[in-house]
Symmetry: D4
Subunit: 230 residues, 8 copies
């Protein structure tokens, strides 16, 4: 019989090294694997963020596991071990979406930021087909330290935002759309080819990654950062 290998090698020092915890990416993991991870985490008293845990997969988890998780179906995220605390401080990050259908991706970014105690303002459905929807909220958006812009289809929103705000703009292309937009590659390429200088981009539908990028920026801004050598 083949010897049983260890399926995973945890990275407990990641927070100390780069300021971010290892998140549990649930796509492609069985309910049993997820339940085992949650059980382990509960034993260590450590909190953790679970991503890409869609409702069907959450429903397949044992009831005992479900009770340990604070689950949000729209973003397909869950927090294990403690509820997400709303930050008392002024929201540091604005998460802006072009359309209603970009919300799951935007909410994944927001859930990740809230897991770390960072306040978030969600500004939804302000795509450029009705430009006034964006311009009436510009002053509000400008009050944040970082802007995350989630947009599918032609992804004109990050370019327009990048020309109007001085903050770092992180574009998250989404897979919203059909025909040439299907899969999000047009949104991705449009964001990369943006005519506005200094817009940065993450992978399609990667709200989690956009939030991590924002956290790297915010961690740098903080007085008295707690990591060695930072």
């Amino acid at each position: 019989m083949p010897r049983k290998p260890a399926d995973a090698t945890l990275d407990p020092g990641r927070r100390a090294r780069i300021g971010l915890d290892e998140a549990i990416f649930c796509a492609g993991k069985s309910p049993q694997q997820i339940a085992a991870i949650v059980a382990t985490l509960t034993g260590t008293k450590k909190a953790a963020l679970l991503t890409r845990l869609d409702p069907a997969r959450f429903a397949d988890l044992p009831a005992g596991t479900q009770r340990l998780l604070s689950y949000d179906p729209l973003s397909a995220t869950a927090v294990c071990g403690r509820a997400a605390r709303a930050s008392k401080a002024r929201p540091a990050v604005a998460v802006v979406t072009a359309g209603t259908s970009d919300l799951p991706v935007a909410r994944e970014a927001a859930a990740t930021l809230r897991y770390y105690g960072v306040g978030v303002s969600e500004i939804a459905d302000v795509g450029v087909a009705g430009l006034w929807r964006l311009t009436v909220r510009l002053d509000e958006i400008r009050r944040h330290k970082v802007v995350i812009a989630a947009a599918g289809m032609d992804a004109a929103l990050p370019s327009v935002l990048g020309g109007l705000v001085a903050a770092p703009v992180i574009a998250v292309p989404t897979s919203v759309g059909y025909g040439v937009a299907a899969g999000g590659h047009t949104a991705l390429n449009a964001a990369l080819a943006s005519c506005a200088p200094g817009v940065v981009v993450v992978n399609i539908d990667n709200g989690y990654g956009a939030a991590c990028a924002a956290l790297r920026i915010l961690n740098r801004t903080k007085r008295g950062a707690r990591w060695r050598g930072v």
Copy 2:
């Protein structure tokens, strides 16, 4: 010895059939072939538009041929047989560009429209990285019957225009840009995936085609169209 074939089959009835003359697409034709065509056209007293005649190729034409042509190097177009007449009427088409480097494509559209006696307003370098450049000229743009928008890179301009003006908006993606924008496919796909309803698109760098589409629209609008069966 192989028998000599006729290289071309002219389509003299095209104007009567669809309202547009056959244009002479010069890319891939030798100076001798172009000179022969111009000689033929001069003999028939008919005017003609030559496109994709870049300066190097124009310089290679016989001096006699050059004298018969009214040549514009920026748009790489020439008119044979009569000078382009500026229309007295209010310009019917606005040709808007996102950047200075989109001008050759925009000028090809303008030259085509002027060949047919249609007035054109050129509104250059009003891309969305500095959105005010577009909004200060919106009233001017809205006074035209058709809007042609030439843009490369992320091509956010046609989407923004499509959300702000009621006229037909014809997007011409351009091959301006590098990396993911090289070749114009990102601009093309962004225009096709536009979040603004009813924006139509032509091939990359196809200023001539955008003008022809505008002419089809304007021909329909005219009182007492002159073609049979229309």
Copy 3:
């Protein structure tokens, strides 16, 4: 607890601005979201067009919502608030399809036009494999102000039409086909590379967008247009 964001930002002034209402794109919206939108619209006494509402999703709507909608399963569209009125005038738009399987896309275009009271002639299954099917109906097609051509596979139909009619030709590539045709990209590229001058193109399967483009053209043609600054 995270604050509840507003999921949508309506654009009620769109009709006054660009002559087109905001349509409800149902793909990716839950039955609850659609029901809520319909309820709101009924309250405001405003009509609305719903697109991409496939039969399975329609069946999942609450019975009360279903009763408020005039639903067409082939085009996956619905009208809320008033029945579509057939125009008394001569049909202004011909919607031509290459094959029977292009009908859902063509019907989306037709349903959109009828929502705005524009008369439509549907001319189905006249692809170029049997060219006589098209030529026997050319005089009929030429009597319309705008031609929409829906075709998948090699999309030769828009090119042939563009060489035969003077009206604006709007090509809608469809995702009909398999192998290299799967997804509609071959049809899209063939329409963009059309040898017929002035054919314009919209996104794959975007019957709605083709209709909106036709409406922009027709709105321009109308005497006494009702929008300010138009």
Copy 4:
């Protein structure tokens, strides 16, 4: 010093095996290599076809080599060892082109057929933008045993032909065009996705291959084929 390898392994039995000689593909070969091959062929008294020998490369050949070749610059082909004989018989193959710029590819097909003594009719510039140009010559085209159709851009010609003639139709997509047509992939895919049944396709710009396919067909038709085992 590394040992000198033999650069080529000739295949003299190919004609007996498959009815076709090995042709000399000159792209990527140095003038010295081509001269050496021609010298060898002259020694063996065998004729040979050289393809992809563009004018610049032909000009670089030694004068002695040039004299041994019957060269055609448009098709970039040459025949070594005997002049191509025009067939006395009725032309068996019609080579039809959509535009003038498809001629180099079409002529490569014609030159290959003539090398084998097969008669060819060239029917140029009959693309579907002016459909009458094709229909007036249909009876002429139908008199041939095989039809080769060379077309770039949207390559609508092979589909239209395939619906009108009963003969085998071999589509040769060409790299003529720009934007989405650049490189010939749109023409290739359109020909493969043809709505006309039984159209076959060869590689982009492969006039030589189309002719070889026609030869395979004609060889099968001949009474008393001369190859063993056929």
Copy 5:
């Protein structure tokens, strides 16, 4: 209420025009539509071939319709109106497959040929990974007038065959494979780039089209062809 359009325009003269009947492509048609077509055909006493009728769709047809069809699940084809007659003559076409999983595509070609009364030899699973499997059957393959080669993955089979047999070789790339082979594009491109001269190619999985191409060739070969002008 919108007027009811005719969904289809039949092409009854296709056989007289190009030697091939219109086939009923069932993918994307509802059971009701297929049943209606079969009822019509039965009324006219004409036979017809149905393709892409997969078992699930066949099972959904009304029992009365099913009884009128001679159905083959592997090739997903059916014949309406008369049983396919096996040709008494020596098989004219060899359908060769690289692997067992290419059989559905190969069988579609065979079913099409048999519908027209053409004899077929099926030679299965002779891909080049075990080259002897092909070479031991070469003499058998060479006895046919046309060779159809169905292969997925790297599609080396058509190239090897094209170098060994003189007959026309029609390559049908199949979508068999995973990773870079998924979808059949690698097989398609390999067949188009074949180093063997004169191999022709049809769309991915298009067994029907390969058979139609073979029929065009065979029809040409027949003494006393029955179509006018042929």
Copy 6:
């Protein structure tokens, strides 16, 4: 009635010829076909490896067939005819994975190697996001004759390994990931473009092929290879 063709042509001499048995690739085969093959194999007393036999397909097999197979659901492989023997010797191959989700592909490689009696060490979840996980196990990895590295997403692992170990490194890109990583093409291209010299690559998710490549290497290393001419 069409004659019944033989669906498969076995290649029993493959082991003698290239040192590898023919494996049964189950994707695309029906339960009946698989059962028939297993029955045949059992009759010949020969062992065989079955790949791509996913749990749903295994469950559909007749109970009698299931009993003859030693099945592993994670790798979707089965062995027919004898249990896989664990090698007594020191493991010759290290199968290293970047993440837990690469395990099915890695296990397919391991199962293939064990079928041939080759010992395997599995070293899981040592991707470069936590580089120490790899470096602490380098000495262990270096003790193997061949290294197989399975990685999806950006596939940085094979490059890092290739710069640290002298053994042959066979990269297996996996389809793990989303957005630009979906399908495994980014991992494939990154492995092919590796900055570390001499890394070789197999098709996406092709753990079986990676193992076969390792076997070709190990077979060469063995004293007294048993194949003729080797």
Copy 7:
């Protein structure tokens, strides 16, 4: 004669709006256009950065224009109006390259940062094929506020860096490489699919954009930012 349009619309308020000056992108501009822009800028006493000014184009500029520019051929950048001032402060940004050939892109980033007075450390040729080259300089890299990583080919460097440093990591994929790496798309996709959380990406070869992103981050970090509304 056509009316002369204004070719450009300057955006002088960009610095006040988003903290970044408009840069002069010289690719596609004629020497005359560049000279005119430099003359204008000199008149206004404002400094400006010119990018993509390759040596051949610089050599074509009038001598008078050349004297007004401080030119760097490696990065193809120039500064007009004042010399770039080296920052006295500790360098805020580390620009790290995988190979020597990534230097032009890295230097464009550095030149942009120095134009704004930001100190830069360049750490060259530390790609992962020799991992020790990176690890010996980790402490040095960690002392910077932002890290820019320029890498072509498989772009493993940003992933490794993202797992080792807490600072924002901006990946600039470069077009260095051949085969699948040609053009930089593999590097781009690998960076987007990075297994390290929070790595952000800009367009291929876009050193300028990476610097602008870093400036947006640094501007946010500064005490007493000088722009209104920020």
Copy 8:
């Protein structure tokens, strides 16, 4: 003035670590940079391999540098510091090419192997269009420990070889061809999708990488390997 960075970080321990020297990749390096590297190497008395040094670039090197190099124009490689020694032993590697035009890539592989003193047999122009050319040399090929197969176009050669020889087969796809073959991606994908088990692949035109892979295999086979930890 910006501080002068070091452009390169040498990796002198690479041979000890992975058995391979760092090679000097000359594409994209200036003659001055190459001259400087050669001067440095000459000083250290170490030999080195230079790759991608095409004849034009070699001609631009200072005469003094040229004299220090043993240059081969076909493979675009040079050896610095000592002449390549021909191995006395039986050649260990067979480098097989499909066509004459694949020779530059094959020769790069051979030159790399000879730099390390490994004997090479070159077997040219044995592509499958004339299969006998390969089969007559099979016994010769089988006498080598490793087989490198360079092929462009449809790259059927590696598959056929992989089914006939037991040795490791390393496929090097080449960019030879036009149309769908241009750039080598079809050859690459065909090699990756090979139906022969255990064929491994390197990047397009990467003869150097194929040789390095062969060296990794041969180094493993050698008795008494000289690197620590191997």
